[in-house]
């Protein structure tokens, strides 16, 4: 494997981590928006507890993805920033508002109404950001972003304001909501709260199945390249079958209230969906013109970054494991329960 493909693989891996970790944080924001019923404030409290210690670390996966993209594939990053400037800007706005409103809400000491208002900003921006992230993924997969000499051929709206990117956006929102509900059901301190998120997980899971089908259908007319890859490559079949399998396991886990099982299976499912997309997109970074090979940094640069990534991972992996062991381990949950009692 060449140093350049290794770097592309690292970007995909980073994107998978971002989806599994930050994706769930965004999903939690959507559930915050949709909190209702008698346990409304308990639900909000659970969401806040669940994402508080980890959201910043989770967010760094996006920074890593972007940094690796512009270091390893500067031409692709340049094209992305021109053709998809508007959705990128909206993602940024969402990231800023989500992060800030989350801490503002947590630390607000004044009127309750203002605090609720921050909660709204937090939950709305949490729901919008994955929509635009999905739109970005959809846009680079459907042959709409064509840049010549720094100018976008399809302008700045027709690169992304299309049925396929929009449906990928909604798919991303529903998948993150599903993932998040599966995580929250484990984190929840009591049976009723678990049931709330169990139901939400099932609903969001069903919506994401529907959205996956719709996206596939729309791809037939506007994202032909990636659809062909998804339908014809044996590796893609394998991944699709495995994703389907983990989805069944996750649904079974939710139905039988085996939440630990549902959480792991849902995470595997979402990871496989992102990996499947990456494999179907290969060797393109931005369809139709920009591939891994024609936008890559020189080989020695890619190799140096690979080495830096390897060294970084030696420090990063144990640190991350520790973070999650402290706050998401079984010990963390029982302590939260005690605190709740």
């Amino acid at each position: 494997m060449s140093s350049v493909s290794l770097l592309a693989g690292a970007i995909l891996a980073s994107l998978v981590m971002y989806s599994l970790l930050a994706g769930a944080d965004y999903g939690a924001g959507l559930w915050d928006l949709l909190c209702h019923g008698p346990r409304q404030s308990e639900q909000r409290h659970l969401i806040e507890q669940a994402i508080g210690p980890v959201w910043e670390a989770n967010h760094v996966w996006l920074i890593l993805t972007i940094v690796l993209l512009f270091s390893g594939f500067p031409d692709a990053f340049g094209a992305l920033c021109v053709g998809l400037a508007i959705p990128l800007f909206l993602v940024l706005l969402g990231i800023v508002l989500r992060g800030c409103s989350f801490v503002f809400r947590s630390y607000f000491t004044g009127e309750r109404r203002t605090q609720l208002y921050w909660g709204k900003v937090f939950s709305i921006s949490s729901s919008m950001t994955p929509l635009f992230l999905g739109i970005l993924i959809g846009s680079i997969s459907c042959d709409s972003v064509i840049i010549h000499g720094g100018v976008s051929e399809n302008g700045f709206l027709k690169t992304w304001l299309l049925p396929f990117p929009l449906s990928v956006g909604i798919l991303a929102v529903s998948l993150f909501a599903y993932l998040s509900a599966c995580y929250l059901a484990v984190d929840a301190g009591n049976a009723e709260l678990r049931d709330d998120f169990r139901l939400r997980g099932l609903i969001a899971g069903l919506v994401s199945i529907a959205m996956a089908v719709i996206t596939y259908v729309i791809a037939g007319s506007s994202a032909v390249g990636i659809r062909e890859e998804l339908s014809n490559r044996p590796v893609a079949w394998l991944i699709e079958v495995c994703a389907l399998g983990s989805m069944i396991v996750a649904f079974r886990g939710l139905l039988l209230r085996r939440y630990q099982q549902a959480r792991i299976a849902a995470a595997i499912q979402v990871a496989l969906i992102v990996v499947g997309w990456g494999i179907a997109q290969y060797p393109y970074l931005i369809r139709p013109g920009i591939t891994i090979a024609n936008s890559a940094a020189p080989r020695n640069v890619a190799a140096a970054i690979d080495v830096a990534l390897g060294c970084g991972a030696i420090v990063l992996i144990p640190s991350l494991t520790m973070l999650f062991a402290i706050f998401k381990g079984t010990r963390g949950v029982t302590q939260q329960e005690q605190a709740g009692d």
């Binding site: 021109v82 706005l93 992060g99 940094a297």
Partner: protein, 439 residues
């Protein structure tokens, strides 16, 4: 507003906003760790309260710093796609390493902030130390990138394209090291004095109390030490600029003519049309002495560069004077403060009032310093290689995104300040401490 100006304004505004939070994000963890260390050593309650209070401030500021930093990493591409396309591969290394430093910071900050009762106390302390160190590393890596834009190295330029790229040589460019040291010390200075000022103000309001005294003590120790070291670092940086970017040095100093034994100007206003700097106090041979450590050294003036390639000399010179002025005042005060501390007279009301009065100067110097380095490099985005106007995006109506971002940041800035005020000034623990003091 034309697109280039709008893009520059948006970038400048984003940087100016982010740098405040980034600087506090570097320095506050250090002060927080010092407070926790003092608590572990003395078991005095005030230190623990202080560590916890500062940790709260860090949470709010780190969140704003993290998201505004993300904005910058995207804006590099959104506003300057041609810059990123041509230079992305060269500056990728420090950015990638910064990514890992940022990861460590975020992970251990989470552990530090939310883990008070979940992990052994030595490990909690260690997490704080890692946060402080990784913040410092992040700042270093990012400033190395800015250094490269000023003194680009580590490649061969062929047909306007970068070839034969050596990532580590680019990262270790001549400007990078001195700039990074200067930036990190500036962060400690700015945040140290600002924190001392806030606690000084509280001290005046609440009357004599141990809590604010130890807070002022730690903050001044950090800020004062940093600003004194800044003198050495500033000298190294200025000599580097003199050697590698003579036009930049000339605009910092308002030096229009090339001459030996150039004078050092204190204050003054450059008149670019008349090619003269008026109303300055001139110290003969001063600039030659400072920039080259030789009173007769030849200092290249702006006359060596076509006028079209001059930066905005007036703003650059005034920013530089502001930075040096604020730095000098703080240096003088720090020396006095260390002496007063030995005489045990640091906490008399007039001195504390002076601390409050001087507290914003660190941030003023920090912002002015970034104006100097960024505006002084113009019209180049990569010094003598790529012009800023050739790097800007083809996306129209940047003034719209500039307006949206500015309004958003203004609102965020106001709320963050207000929240910090609420938490530092009026939280219940404060009253608790006051009560203990009066009993």
């Amino acid at each position: 507003m034309n697109n280039l100006l709008a893009a520059r304004s948006q970038m400048g505004m984003s940087l100016a906003f982010h740098i405040i939070f980034a600087a506090i994000g570097i320095a506050l963890p250090l002060m927080m760790v010092i407070a926790e260390w003092r608590w572990r050593a003395t078991k005095e309650e005030a230190y623990l309260q202080l560590a916890q209070r500062w940790a709260k401030g860090t949470t709010i500021l780190a969140a704003v710093g993290a998201v505004s930093g993300t904005v910058l990493s995207f804006e590099l591409g959104l506003l300057w796609p041609e810059f990123m396309r041509s230079a992305g591969a060269i500056i990728g290394m420090p950015f990638s390493l910064e990514g890992f430093a940022f990861f460590l910071e975020a992970i251990f900050l989470g552990i530090y902030l939310y883990g008070w009762n979940k992990i052994p106390s030595w490990f909690h302390f260690l997490s704080g130390v890692i946060v402080a160190l990784s913040g410092l590393l992040s700042a270093m890596f990012v400033t190395l990138v800015n250094g490269w834009m000023n003194t680009p190295t580590g490649f061969v330029l062929a047909d306007g394209k970068f070839t034969n790229i050596r990532p580590f040589a680019a990262m270790l460019n001549p400007a990078g090291g001195p700039e990074a040291v200067h930036m990190i010390l500036a962060a400690y200075t700015a945040a140290g004095f600002a924190t001392a000022g806030i606690h000084g103000w509280l001290y005046l309001r609440r009357g004599k109390n141990r809590f604010d005294e130890v807070a002022i003590g730690i903050a001044l120790a950090v800020g004062g030490t940093a600003v004194l070291l800044q003198g050495v670092s500033g000298d190294a940086l200025a000599r580097m600029v003199a050697a590698t970017q003579p036009a930049k040095l000339a605009s910092l100093e308002g030096q229009f003519r090339t001459e030996t034994g150039a004078p050092l100007r204190i204050g003054g206003l450059p008149f670019p049309k008349e090619r003269v700097t008026k109303y300055a106090i001139e110290i003969p041979d001063g600039l030659s002495l400072l920039a080259f450590h030789n009173p007769n050294a030849l200092v290249k003036g702006l006359d060596q560069v076509p006028e079209a390639d001059w930066p905005d000399v007036r703003i650059v010179h005034l920013s530089f004077q502001t930075m040096v002025g604020c730095g000098s005042i703080l240096c003088g005060f720090s020396l006095a403060a260390f002496w007063l501390h030995r005489k045990r007279r640091l906490f008399s009301r007039p001195v504390v009032r002076l601390i409050v009065l001087l507290s914003p100067l660190g941030f003023v110097a920090l912002e002015a310093g970034w104006m100097v380095t960024e505006l002084g490099r113009q019209p180049w985005i990569i010094y003598h290689i790529l012009r800023t106007r050739d790097a800007v995006t083809s996306l129209p109506n940047i003034s719209i995104t500039f307006t949206v971002m500015t309004i958003t940041y203004l609102i965020l800035g106001v709320i963050t300040t207000w929240l910090l005020g609420k938490h530092v000034i009026a939280s219940p623990e404060t009253r608790l401490i006051e009560k203990e003091e009066t009993v």
